[in-house]
């Protein structure tokens, strides 16, 4: 009779000890390379474990206080090792390969994630992250919530398309307005536009320069611009100044111009996207604006 | 001895040298005179192997010039070009020392020869200075010392070719240079020197080759070559020729 509480205590102790042991196996010091990945880690509550991030990890702002390990394609082996990490997480955009090999040789885990612009990639990444953080239930919830938000958005977009044709849109990525690259098929930008219900007027693959004339010929209904150097209003001014041919387009005449944070286009799909997609969709379908607000 | 026979040289459709015969004998200074474009530098080019003749052959000590190996030839034949384009700040004695490259005479002997050559070219006071800091005339004398060092002491079997070695020199040094060349010849070297100053040629040369449009107008002693008739025909100038009051060689006075 007296053995049951003891067994219970032993069972509880065992359970606690095993979770502790499990926690001890989980990497405690993280270096993250890839903006979206760092955001997911933060979303899953792992920010306290980050000891270093790359230059593309700028959200949330508190990450900028962490030591920088450089651009994700040009990491420094010794630099990362000096932070004594247990794990290096990044997408396949991470490099250079010899450095990753050196880091592995030093006994640090290197976990690769997908940067593809697909929902399945997000699911996979979240599951993997959840395992590494010991936060599987939160990860599953986040993934489900993400998918749900995107499905809801799809439904709203379809609804809006009943009353209005999909607008022709171009996504321009520039640097202080000059030489903007147009997001073509297969890019993260393209995925964004399509999710928000737009018709991407650019038919080419990847990001390419266009001549001003070609830009004018496409005559988009809406222009989404993303600038690596300037923000919002300044970016718009610079864009219009450097590309006067745009002024003739319908988008500019009707003032249908949207600014987009460039970090959203790098490192895979991140947690801030649903909100951005909603505001994009609202701009694309002004008549149905109300339904996108949340 | 350097010898050329039946030399023809063409550049494009121009005949630059026509049927030249010349033999440089030891101990003699041959001066080459002629107006611009007469072919003086081309002749020197052929004699030193820079230019290949279209017809005729150049022989050094009986062997065709082209058959000589580089260093072997360099021990017997030295050339002083008209201009130098050295753009690095070597010291004067280093420049002269390069003349000793074809020889394996060792550092001590080389240093002695360099000093002797510099003195002969009246450039010993320039030693220790940077080549780039010298004037045009001083540089010319350093290069003269270099070619003298290359053939030092100028014995039989060595040949010295000089392309206008006095062009940038003041009157004193024009004479000291040619005197050094003369002394070289006196020791047995064969010398050919292109000059444009008729009186210098008259004083220092044993024979003169007068070129006109690539052809040999005359090849003989200064007395025989430097006549008013010849000079009028080749240069188009009216001259008086008198004997130098102290030395006796022809003195050309333009009327």
């Amino acid at each position: 009779m007296m053995r049951r509480p003891a067994a219970l205590i032993a069972l509880c102790a065992g359970f606690v000890l095993s979770t502790q042991a499990l926690a001890a196996e989980l990497p405690q010091r993280w270096v993250s390379a890839g903006g979206a990945l760092s955001e997911w880690v933060t979303a899953l509550g792992g920010e306290s474990r980050l000891v270093g991030v790359d230059t593309t990890s700028q959200h949330p702002a508190s990450l900028k206080a962490l030591p920088s390990v450089g651009y994700q394609r040009q990491l420094s082996a010794e630099g990362i090792l000096s932070l004594r990490p247990d794990v290096l997480v990044g997408t396949e955009e991470m490099g250079p390969p010899p450095v990753l090999a050196q880091i592995r040789k030093a006994g640090v885990r290197v976990e690769l994630f997908s940067s593809k612009a697909e929902l399945d990639a997000v699911d996979q990444n979240l599951k993997h992250l959840g395992q590494l953080l010991g936060a599987e239930p939160q990860a599953t919830a986040l993934a489900a919530g993400y998918r749900q938000q995107l499905d809801a958005l799809q439904a709203q977009v379809k609804h809006a398309q009943a009353g209005q044709k999909a607008p022709g849109v171009l996504l321009l990525v520039g640097h202080a307005g000059a030489k903007p690259l147009i997001a073509g098929q297969g890019t993260a930008g393209d995925w964004l536009l399509r999710q928000a219900g737009a018709h991407n007027l650019a038919e080419h693959q990847g990001y390419k320069n266009f001549s001003n004339e070609a830009l004018a010929a496409l005559d988009p209904d809406v222009v989404v611009f993303s600038d690596r150097a300037l923000a919002d209003e300044q970016a718009l001014q610079a864009l219009l100044k450097e590309n006067p041919a745009l002024a003739a387009s319908r988008a500019v005449r009707e003032q249908r111009l949207v600014s987009l944070d460039p970090t959203l286009l790098v490192g895979g799909l991140g947690p801030r996207l649903p909100a951005t997609l909603r505001s994009l969709a609202a701009t694309f379908y002004p008549a149905a604006k109300g339904s996108f607000a949340q | 001895m350097l010898q050329v026979e039946g030399l023809h040289l063409r550049r494009g459709s121009n005949e630059v040298l026509h049927d030249i015969h010349l033999q440089l004998t030891l101990g003699q200074v041959v001066g080459v005179l002629g107006p611009n474009g007469a072919g003086k530098s081309s002749l020197l080019g052929v004699l030193c192997g820079e230019l290949a003749p279209d017809q005729g052959h150049v022989t050094l000590q009986g062997r065709p010039l082209a058959d000589w190996a580089g260093q072997e030839r360099a021990r017997r034949l030295a050339v002083l070009p008209q201009v130098s384009s050295l753009g690095f700040s070597f010291r004067v004695e280093e420049v002269v020392g390069m003349g000793r490259m074809p020889h394996g005479s060792g550092q001590v002997r080389d240093a002695e020869i360099v000093e002797a050559a510099l003195r002969a070219a009246d450039a010993w006071h320039l030693q220790g200075r940077s080549y780039l800091a010298l004037s045009g005339g001083e540089r010319q004398r350093v290069h003269l010392a270099r070619v003298l060092a290359q053939l030092w002491p100028g014995e039989q079997g060595t040949t010295l070719l000089l392309d206008e070695p006095t062009s940038m020199l003041d009157p004193l040094h024009q004479h000291t240079t040619l005197q050094a060349v003369r002394r070289f010849a006196d020791r047995g070297a064969a010398v050919l020197v292109i000059l444009h100053d008729l009186n210098l040629a008259a004083r220092y040369c044993d024979r003169i080759l007068l070129l006109e449009q690539g052809r040999c107008h005359a090849l003989a002693s200064p007395d025989e070559v430097l006549t008013p008739g010849a000079l009028k025909a080749v240069f188009g100038i009216d001259v008086l020729v008198q004997a130098h009051p102290e030395r006796g060689h022809p003195l050309i006075i333009t009327r």
Binding site: Y71, R73, A77, P97 | A74, L86, S89, M98, M101
Partner: protein, 345 residues
Amino acid sequence: MRQRVQPRTLIICLSLLCLLAVWLSLALGPVSLPLFDTLRAGLRLLGLPIAGDGLQQAEMILGQIRLPRTLLGLAVGAVLALSGVAMQGLFRNPLADPGLVGVAAGAAMGAAVAIVGGSWFGGMPEVLAPYLLSLCAFIGGLGVTALVYRLGRRDGQTNVATMLLAGVAMTALGGAAVGLFSYLADDATLRTLTFWNLGSLNGASYERLWPLLMVATGVALWLPRRARALNALLLGESEARHLGIEVERLKRELVFCTALGVGAAVAAAGLIGFIGLVVPHLVRLLAGPDHRVVLPASLLAGGVLMLFADLAARLLLAPAELPIGIVTAFIGAPFFLFLLIRGRS
């Protein structure tokens, strides 16, 4: 005339400086290792029987990261400096740079082909990628130099001025080709291309090092043997010929030494500029233009400069890293301008 540093003094000082640079390069880095640990790990790597507990990290950092990097820096610096001397001798101009003959442009083209072509074929196996890049850069550099050399040859003689102009044209063509490849590349490969253009000793490994070490040793052993001939070449081509030097053969050797050296260095570490210009110039300023001093001194000084530049690249922004080409450009470009201004006065 300004006093010259004695050759022996210069070589000794440079050797000591070289040892210091190697020491600092091995001892300093973003990972702060206690000096004692570095020493012990170093001795263990040399094969001495010393207790190795607690030294794993030091051994790993030293042996896998810092040592190959130091060796790479020494080799690249030495080869680039020697190539600079060779080019300056060939063009008889102290401002000549190996890039003038188009080697760098050719190497850049080769690398662009490898980087962009690789992405077209759906990416290469990761292990193969660095070797393919190196090989393509090497072939590109050698190919362009050979072409430029042929263009400059006429009647069995090499016209240096023509070579120079052909080199300039090749550099322009190379730049256009790289631009075209950049245009055709997707964002990812474009970034890789850009970073390669800036040069870096990052990720140095022993596998990448061997070809460069072989070339560097070859060039370092060969050029000093031609020191006197190079001196004579500075007088002028015909003057050198009249001193008994086989000028055409010497020019050929200089061109190929440079192409091999620069091609190998660029293939191993990307485009790193100005070493070939700055180092020989400094050496000449100190000890005069005699190649018997300039060649060995430039070899040492090139290595030293490279290692110090790499220290700056590694430590200034730790734990991130500056591409070393930026550091050398910041040193070299103002120096070059200073030389030009001084030359005018």
